[in-house]
């Protein structure tokens, strides 16, 4: 179980300013074991920041994060990873010289037979065995690298998996495959929790619980059946959550520094 208690996250308005801007505003949230939770809401609402705070990529200004009762507020990324928190990046890193198979093995924490790797890859719509020996570098398209990122999460199989916009960069054809995969993960969850940040209705439909985030606060949260109808009222935005422009589905350009 993940418990966020009174989480505040502030950043300086600009580099040398002492003024701060509040990105997450006194947010409390509990994610129960075995739940599939979708966090949605308008751009700039703090969704990705919240995910980073859970993984330890960002540190909260104040508040407490408990994972299975253990205080991980100041734990490093590595410590949280070893406790069973996993994170699927919105814009995955690329690694020159690293083969796809190696990345999957690093994720799994052990050597993997090729067949097993192919199984992970086929679940994300990469059906050619040739991918295993490809390098996770610029030679892969944005969509391929994104799918490989999701495959690393399948190989890692964390107790709590956080996906930051898994659909971003995935083409429409593969999107069907991806939603099936998330459905499969959820069905085989065995008490594992999934948190997905998404704007996609078809992913939201898979959720047990939906959390709507706006301006760093929870605007609405609850079981899917209760929240879904409100999401449909996009045009009458003063009630419920506004779903803004959906994430673009064509391949995104992902900057690489190396």
């Amino acid at each position: 179980m993940l418990e966020l208690k009174n989480i505040v996250f502030e950043v300086p308005v600009d580099e040398h300013s002492s003024k701060t801007k509040r990105i997450i505003d006194d947010l409390s949230l509990t994610i129960e074991d075995g739940k599939f939770t979708v966090i949605t809401g308008p751009n700039g609402g703090g969704k990705s920041t919240l995910a980073k705070l859970i993984m330890g990529i960002e540190q909260p200004t104040s508040g407490t994060i408990l994972f299975n009762g253990q205080d991980v507020t100041h734990a490093s990324i590595t410590e949280r990873a070893n406790l069973g928190i996993g994170y699927g990046f919105q814009q995955p890193a690329r690694f020159k010289g690293m083969k796809v198979k190696k990345l999957l093995e690093l994720a799994a924490g052990k050597r993997l037979p090729a067949l097993q790797c192919n199984e992970y890859l086929s679940k994300v719509g990469l059906c050619s065995a040739a991918y295993l020996t490809r390098e996770v570098d610029k030679s892969l398209s944005g969509g391929e690298v994104k799918r490989i990122e999701i495959a690393t999460m399948l190989a890692r199989d964390p107790k709590l998996a956080i996906y930051d916009e898994p659909e971003a960069g995935i083409d429409l054809w593969s999107f069907d495959r991806l939603t099936e995969t998330f459905r499969d993960i959820h069905e085989a969850r065995d008490d594992r929790s999934i948190v997905i940040i998404s704007h996609q209705e078809r992913i939201i439909q898979l959720a047990d619980d939906i959390v709507c985030l706006r301006d760093g606060r929870i605007e609405d949260a609850g079981p899917r059946d209760e929240i879904m109808p409100k999401l449909g009222l996009t045009d009458r935005a003063q009630f419920g959550c506004t779903l803004t422009t959906p994430t673009e589905l064509h391949l995104t350009k992902i900057p690489t520094t190396c």
């Binding site: 996993g86 990046f89 890193a93 020159k96 190696k102 690093l106 890692r156 190396c258």
Partner: protein, 308 residues
């Protein structure tokens, strides 16, 4: 003939992945002297009489054979200059494993300058693997200044992987290649420098024949206070393709200078160069940390893969 001790064997394992004497044709050289040499039915190795070094002749049509020619240096204060000439017969397909390991436990410089020249016959194929490595508790420099000349005949193919593992105080590398019609060269150079080491790599690659093709891939990691200069020039003199790609990771106070040059002397020459120098990207380290690695482990993994 010289004998091999434990240090020698470890050096040979590092640079040529050798454990004991190789099979087939080989020539093992230690401190400027022959340890052991063997020719095979198709590959003849003979010593020059007028200078240090060997002439390796691969018979036309030889397929799937490997030649090992490692050099090890374990004495301090010596310089070994050696010429290795390779004549590859038409249609042959061979692998050549070279490399030099220096163990310098003294305070004087130990230097090896290998001048390797290759003449590739029509339609022949060569895979050349060379590793350089230095170690030793002494303060003496470990210097490797290799010169590599490659003359590629019509429709020949050559893949060169030249790696400097670590421990080499200074290196000046000269690589000169000429490609005839239809020849294809893939040249990969990987250099790691650390401490106060310096590395300079000069290349001059001339695409003389129509349809010739070169791909130069440079990967380098410069750590601590080390300094590297990568200076390749590809000249297209015919309808040809040339691609130079330089990637460097810089760490600490290291400096890297990349001067990729391309020169077209034919309107049908297609030449491209790319160069990028930067530190390890933060998102790479974070990704590996989310897989349970520490920051140091993540950094090492990224470097290992980059230079693999």
């Amino acid at each position: 003939m010289a004998e091999l001790n434990k240090i020698d064997e470890e050096l040979l394992a590092q640079i040529a992945d050798l454990h004991g004497m190789p099979r087939g044709a080989f020539n093992i050289r230690k401190d400027g002297q022959l340890v052991e040499r063997s020719s095979s039915a198709n590959i003849d190795i003979e010593a020059f009489t007028d200078k240090q070094g060997i002439k390796i002749t691969v018979a036309p049509g030889t397929k799937g054979e490997t030649v090992h020619i490692p050099v090890i240096m374990t004495k301090t204060g010596i310089t070994d200059v050696v010429y290795n000439d390779f004549h590859i017969g038409e249609g042959a397909d061979v692998t050549i494993v070279a490399g030099c390991g220096i163990h310098n436990s003294g305070d004087d410089a130990t230097e090896h300058d290998g001048i390797h020249s290759f003449w590739l016959g029509k339609g022949s194929r060569v895979r050349y693997v060379e590793k350089h490595y230095g170690e030793g508790e002494g303060t003496g420099d470990r210097i490797l200044n290799p010169t590599t000349n490659v003359y590629m005949g019509e429709d020949s193919f050559c893949e060169m992987e030249m790696t400097q593992l670590k421990g080499v105080s200074s290196t000046v590398r000269e690589t000169n290649c000429e490609l005839a019609e239809g020849a294809k060269l893939i040249l990969t150079e990987k250099l790691l420098t650390h401490g106060k080491q310096t590395a300079v790599s000069n290349m001059d690659i001339r695409l003389k024949g129509e349809g010739s093709n070169v791909q130069v891939i440079s990967r380098s990691v410069a750590q601590d206070d080390s300094y590297q200069v990568f200076n390749p020039l590809v000249v297209g003199e015919a309808a040809c393709h040339g691609h130079v790609q330089c990637d460097a990771i810089i760490m600490g106070n290291a400096k890297v200078k990349a001067i990729p040059g391309i020169e077209a002397a034919s309107e049908d020459a297609q030449l491209i160069h790319e160069a990028a120098i930067g530190k390890i990207a933060g998102d790479q380290i974070i990704k590996l940390m989310t897989l349970g690695m520490s920051e140091e482990e993540a950094e090492q993994e990224i470097l290992n893969d980059f230079l693999s």
